[in-house]
């Protein structure tokens, strides 16, 4: 790595050093309480998978270039130069961390390893050493935001084709639009993923609840966040925010996508609309009596996987359980409790990387498979696209013999007339 490159990368590093980040980088006492926090370490007990060790890889570079100790007495903290080798270590640390923040529950100080890993991810982007596919996907999303008109036609045709499926689940009142798009003055903007499974059941439930809603042009997922690129993350987010403002909606409802929910809920800043997850919205409909569910629809025992970004990091913990109370008499919560729920092993962009990460994803999530098996449930429900894909892969790999389902589609399947 030449001097110019290093300087560029250190500038990127510097840009991440806000107050919280400095606290996190200065404070770790390497007490090792986080040893048992990481699902990767619990599945494959190697030192490099301990949260504190991952963070220390970034911290050593911090000490070298940004801390007096590293400059005066480099060996005391084993500070480290930023080299090609260091980049490789950063890659391994950052892309074996799913950003689930379970370690934050263990740390006596509450150090956020995901945030420290965001430095590693940004340096990799700066060095063009990040997984290219994530950047490509992010750029595609951004491109789509810039030239909506080109995509509009195809999108609308696609949506029209889904309407019959929606009606099959819920027959709307005559004259109502089945999937409203671009409706100014709608109460709720629903941001889905590209794929019928993310749109059809949601539309059926909105219509059943008599919601004044409209579907977003854009897909919710934020690949910019996966790859740890703040400017791309913001551009992708901006598309939806400006659409919501243009349509003057009161609420933006994010589909079953953990990253999208956390980014919209916590990164969008103060906006004139409320941000909800579809799980929260469904729970609200049930509570207000706007929809009614048939409890006899699902015969099997059910367990629920808390998506990290929605539960531990987004605060949506009671709502899915409330919904499931209306779907089954045999709900079996996982142990330990939601705060300690293991990551599915697919977060942080690992699922989006597909086959490349499959082997690691399976090995690193053994504890998750064990946690699911221990419930003895026949149905494994979740509310996140990433988790769903990963859990389905785990189901095959570990022969868990469970039916992996989306919570929202179960709600749609169990809809009954009031």
């Amino acid at each position: 790595m030449d001097e110019k490159m290093r300087e560029e990368l250190l500038k990127l590093f510097q840009s991440k050093l806000n107050q919280a980040m400095k606290f996190y980088l200065e404070t770790c006492s390497r007490c090792g309480v986080c040893t048992k926090a990481c699902h990767v370490h619990e599945s494959m007990p190697r030192v490099k998978y301990i949260a504190a060790y991952r963070a220390e890889i970034v911290r050593r570079i911090y000490k070298k270039y940004f801390k007096a100790q590293g400059k005066l007495w480099s060996s005391a903290g084993e500070s480290k130069e930023l080299t090609e080798m260091a980049l490789q270590e950063l890659y391994e640390a950052a892309y074996s961390c799913t950003g689930c923040r379970r370690c934050m529950v263990y740390c006596p100080f509450g150090i956020d390893t995901q945030m420290i890993m965001s430095i590693a991810k940004l340096l990799l982007v700066g060095a063009s050493a990040e997984p290219e596919i994530l950047t490509m996907l992010a750029d595609m999303s951004i491109e789509k935001g810039k030239s909506v008109e080109i995509f509009k036609e195809g999108f609308l045709t696609g949506i029209k084709n889904l309407e019959a499926d929606v009606v099959k689940r819920w027959k709307a009142e005559a004259g109502d639009t089945v999937i409203p798009v671009n409706t100014e003055g709608a109460d709720l903007l629903y941001v889905a993923l590209a794929g019928a499974h993310s749109i059809v059941p949601a539309a059926a439930v909105f219509n059943a609840a008599g919601e004044n809603w409209t579907l977003s042009f854009f897909e919710a997922v934020n690949f910019g966040a996966f790859v740890g690129d703040p400017s791309r993350t913001k551009l992708i987010l901006e598309r939806i925010i400006s659409e919501a403002k243009r349509l003057k909606v009161k609420e933006v409802c994010i589909c079953e996508c953990g990253t999208a929910f956390r980014v919209m809920k916590q990164l969008s800043g103060k906006q004139p609309f409320k941000v909800s997850s579809i799980t929260e919205v469904h729970a609200r409909y049930i509570r207000e009596g706007r929809i009614k569910l048939d409890k006899s629809k699902f015969k099997e025992s059910i367990t629920y996987h808390d998506p990290c970004q929605i539960a531990r990091n987004g605060g949506v913990i009671d709502e899915p359980r409330y919904i499931l109370e209306h779907l089954t008499n045999d709900f079996r919560d996982m142990s330990p409790e939601p705060k300690y729920n293991y990551c599915c092993g697919g977060g942080g962009g690992l699922v989006a990387l597909g086959e490349d990460t499959l082997d690691f994803r399976m090995k690193s999530a053994k504890v998750k498979a064990d946690q699911v098996k221990a419930t003895g449930a026949g149905m494994l429900v979740t509310a996140c696209e990433n988790c769903h894909t990963q859990l389905s892969d785990l189901n095959d790999h570990y022969e868990m013999n469970v039916d992996v389902r989306f919570l929202s589609s179960m709600v749609a399947d169990a809809l009954v007339r009031k």
Binding site: L17, N18, E56, P108
Partner: protein
């Protein structure tokens, strides 16, 4: 010849005693106070993180739970109970010793609510601290803590251990010699002279048989104070704001 050599050694020892007891103390406190203030001002001056960093489920009021997390270490209690016992003993003992040292400066009626001799605990506090430090040190020799540790972690523990070892055994050592030497009043004279910027070492302090222990105690404490602002011991100040971030 021998007599001259001995006197020379005496003189160099005396010079070393003087250096540790006066100039080095000033330097140590200057580095400690200025360094810590500088680091904190710099860190708290950085812009705040734009979003929340809290985790759920949440409990209100967040500041109260942040205090709870900071001072009672509930996560350590749950995940490493043995470490928790030693951490609590260590931190409480450390606090008691800070109080003990303050009482060497002057009488504080606040601390004498529970009447006691200076130092409180009769040497046992120091022993608890030493044992805790040895526990912290030896656990770092075992995997995975060994792999997580960097030299700083060992240096700090060894420094503190040496400081506490010589400090806490002073009272005991005093019994070997004349128990009337190096009394609380001698310490007060010495410490007040430092504070009033008219530094002097009273003969009671550097002339006793076990003065070397005091000098070593102060020497290691000085080194520790100088290291403090540049080390992970800054967690003393950062633990609370960090726990507040987690609690939202």
């Amino acid at each position: 010849m021998l007599v001259i050599a001995l006197t020379r050694r005496e003189a160099s020892v005396q010079a070393f005693y003087y250096f540790v007891l006066i100039p080095m103390v000033y330097v140590a406190f200057a580095v400690f106070i200025l360094g810590t203030v500088f680091q904190l001002v710099k860190m708290f001056g950085e812009k705040k993180h734009p979003t929340t960093l809290q985790i759920f489920p949440e409990k209100k009021p967040a500041w109260l739970w942040a205090l709870h997390d900071t001072f009672l270490l509930p996560t350590v209690r749950r995940h490493n109970p043995l470490l928790w016992v030693f951490l609590m003993l260590f931190h409480v003992a450390f606090l008691l010793l800070i109080i003990g040292h303050l009482e060497l400066f002057a009488k504080f009626s606040l601390f004498q609510v529970v009447a006691h001799d200076v130092f409180l605990g009769g040497g046992y506090v120091g022993i608890i601290l030493s044992v805790a430090l040895l526990f912290f040190l030896f656990r770092r020799f075992v995997s995975p803590y060994r792999d997580l540790s960097v030299p700083e972690d060992y240096y700090l523990l060894i420094l503190l251990f040496l400081t506490v070892l010589f400090g806490s055994q002073m009272d005991w050592a005093r019994r070997w010699y004349d128990y009337s030497s190096m009394t609380v009043d001698d310490y007060r004279t010495y410490l007040m002279s430092l504070i009033s910027l008219k530094p002097a070492v009273p003969p009671g302090v550097d002339g006793a048989g076990h003065s070397f222990m005091l000098v070593l105690h102060i020497f290691f404490a000085n080194v520790f104070l100088i290291f403090f602002p540049f080390s992970k011991i800054m967690h003393s100040f950062l633990a609370l704001p960090m726990n507040k971030l987690r609690r939202g």
